[in-house]
């Protein structure tokens, strides 16, 4: 989101809702729960919108809300299913869809910490510092988690078969 001036909540939602929703799913939330998570996140963001506007990086601020809210909503346990509107193709070369599903399976197999750092760093494109801020951990922790998560992703059986 271009924050040349104070961004309106309206513009932010228009620009980021889909990304937030996808991030929520990649973090392991079923679709409906992801909707709820995004809504809760946006609600909290709206209530603190002045603070979001004042933040150096409004995106990171809201992503942090997303992560914190996600932690709060973990009481409904995700059972690992990966809902998708289309079944992956099984006997053809890896398409983007099958790759994507494989990556989601790999994410599902990871710990929450590794999943979060991958989503924040490589889907939401946060810097290491912003990721640390969003996760509430030290910069070094982000670096080590990222390295470990990438290694896990590369080593995942379904992802390896696609390379």
């Amino acid at each position: 989101v271009d924050v040349g001036g104070p961004i309106s909540f309206h513009d932010f939602v228009a620009a980021r809702r889909a990304s937030l929703f996808r991030a929520a799913v990649l973090l392991g939330f079923p679709l409906q729960d992801a909707e709820d998570l995004v809504q809760s996140t946006l609600t909290k963001a709206l209530r603190s919108w002045r603070a979001v506007q004042r933040a150096d990086h409004p995106d990171a601020y809201v992503y942090r809300i997303l992560i914190n809210t996600a932690h709060d909503q973990r009481k409904r346990h995700w059972r690992g299913e990966i809902p998708t509107a289309a079944l992956p193709e099984r006997h053809e070369r890896a398409s983007g869809h099958t790759t994507g599903i494989a990556v989601r399976r790999a994410l599902a197999a990871m710990s929450k910490d590794h999943r979060e750092v991958l989503v924040l760093r490589y889907f939401l494109d946060l810097s290491e510092r912003d990721t640390a801020e969003a996760l509430g951990v030290a910069l070094g922790t982000v670096k080590s988690r990222t390295a470990r998560a990438l290694a896990l992703l590369a080593a995942d059986e379904s992802v390896r078969s696609l390379r």
Partner: protein, 516 residues
């Protein structure tokens, strides 16, 4: 440490994979609603929208019963009819509606917390199947010296009248209320703005534009199975199925809610159909509508609806829920979710309305004496802290230093300057199985609340791992314990205790969290 840094190729590869993973997710954003820029021919749309809102909300339901397909077309004679809702009509209109149905009508006073002269219910209740010629008693709001609705300090009767004016407008029996020049519309999480300057034609076109938006983007359809009834005021959780909705909040707001009730079910107050938040001298600054549809498809896609709320609305066959925001002095206020009236005070009033007038099938609704409850009002420090937490004010309402406690354990002290940085309020300890950081401001910013001066209620983090008593004893006087309204699961429960000086400046804050 360089080994921790992935190379650019790995990062590019990861980005590509994550994007492909994301591409498998149909975010299905509802799309941006584009309001009609100019209402050239708005009366037909107004009429259509009014019909829709009427059908959705209250009075139209009885009418729809009559025009819809059903036994009336094939049955030679009817010996009974369903009592229509007359909620909100003046006594004369209510009488006329009921007499048109073939009923005899009587009226009686109902001591309720509303401007006088409005029909607030009937006996038998709406939705009841009653023989022609039976007598229907219309409860008409009245006020007596013994009625204390606790509205005087927070909300004036003028505001209540405005709330009813909105209801009249929504039901097509009154003029448009006054809107700001720019009105924020939120429709199933789609945001748009209707600007008076764009249409430059005063208030009625603004109202029309809003109603057009509702008409264009919602498939509101009254259900024969549901009846609608309205109420005003009351604790938030009692009219939102126990789930806190994500509406912005207004420091002096008093909600007007309309509630759709299932006439076939036993008598519980269920989902809200419409909520209006009003403040003194307020004009409408925004309107939120949440919709579903007979197929539930739109409902399921509406991210504004929580699972709890979704189930609740779906179980009722769904109409819609809306809320109206009103600003103070022209600037939309996004402050709080429920009236800042202690629930202990407010609830008797609401229960009286609910118990007396809102529950179909309930027989004991003839008593309207309000229970008086003694409640000590805490010092203002809690309110100031909440406003600061929510970004309403920029200066922390703290003394020169404020002590922060977590679960009763002293964590650290902030100067006033340090307290102006939200991150400095973060605390971390092994407590309540929560992940760090924990922050009282975050808790206060993100949830509705009630305030009391008593002990924290509900399950909260075990203090076994922490000193049983606050250590050290905070300075100042315990002025408030802030907790969310209604019963909470342990995971969602919290309390913030505040110690303040006599002038309201806060000396110490203790955050308690539920232990999952």
């Amino acid at each position: 440490m360089n080994s921790l840094r992935p190379d650019a190729e790995s990062e590019a590869w990861a980005r590509d994979l994550m994007q492909q993973a994301a591409d498998t997710i149909d975010a299905n954003p509802p799309g941006t609603f584009v309001a009609t820029p100019r209402a050239r021919s708005w009366w037909p749309a107004l009429a259509a929208a009014v019909v829709i809102v009427v059908g959705t909300v209250t009075i139209g339901l009885g009418l729809l019963d009559r025009v819809g397909p059903g036994p009336a077309l094939s049955t030679p004679t009817r010996t009974s009819a369903s009592v229509p809702s007359v909620f909100g009509h003046d006594a004369g209109s209510a009488r006329a509606m009921l007499e048109a149905e073939g009923f005899e009508v009587e009226t009686e006073d109902a001591l309720v917390c509303e401007p006088p002269g409005r029909a607030v219910g009937t006996s038998p209740v709406m939705g009841s199947n009653v023989s022609f010629g039976s007598t229907i008693t219309v409860k008409v709001s009245t006020i007596s010296d013994n009625t204390d609705c606790f509205l005087g300090e927070r909300v004036s009767w003028d505001e209540r009248s405005l709330a009813w004016a909105i209801l009249d407008f929504a039901n097509g029996r009154g003029p448009a209320p006054e809107f700001l020049d720019s009105v924020e519309l939120v429709l199933d999480s789609r945001f748009t703005t209707a600007r008076g300057s764009d249409i430059a034609a005063g208030q009625e076109p603004m109202a029309t534009q809003i109603l057009q938006a509702l008409a264009a983007d919602t498939a509101l359809k009254a259900s024969d199975d549901n009846v609608a009834l309205g109420t005003t005021g009351g604790p938030e959780d009692q009219s939102t199925c126990g789930h806190r909705l994500g509406q912005p909040d207004y420091s002096l707001a008093e909600p007007l809610r309309l509630t759709i009730l299932d006439s076939g079910a036993a008598a519980t107050l269920t989902c809200p159909a419409l909520t209006a938040h009003l403040t003194h001298d307020g004009r409408i600054a925004g309107l939120v509508l949440r919709t579903g549809g007979p197929s539930n498809a739109r409902l399921l896609q509406a991210p504004a609806l929580s699972t709890t709320y979704r189930k609740c609305v779906r179980s009722m066959g769904l109409e819609a829920w809306a809320q109206v925001f009103v600003s103070q002095g022209g600037v939309p206020q996004l402050v709080k979710t429920e009236p800042e009236v202690p629930a202990e005070i407010h609830r008797p009033c609401f229960q009286q309305i609910g118990g007396g007038l809102l529950r179909p099938g309930q027989s004991s609704h003839d008593t309207y004496e309000l229970e008086q409850t003694e409640v000590s009002v805490p010092s203002p420090g809690w309110r100031d802290l909440t406003k600061y937490a929510r970004g309403v004010t920029t200066e922390p309402p703290v003394a020169a230093e404020v002590e922060l406690y977590l679960g009763g354990q002293f964590m650290h002290t902030l100067t006033r300057e340090q307290a102006s940085v939200e991150a400095n309020w973060e605390m971390c300890a092994a407590y309540a199985q929560r992940s760090c950081p924990m922050n009282a401001l975050t808790v206060l910013a993100g949830d509705g609340r009630l305030v009391s001066t008593g002990e924290p209620q509900g399950c909260l983090g075990s203090l076994s791992e922490l000193p049983a008593k606050l250590n050290p004893t905070p300075t100042g006087t315990l002025s408030a314990t802030i907790q969310p309204v209604g019963k909470r699961a342990c995971t969602d429960n919290w309390a913030v205790q505040i110690w303040a000086n006599a002038d309201g400046t806060i000396r110490a804050v203790n955050l308690l969290l539920g232990d999952p």
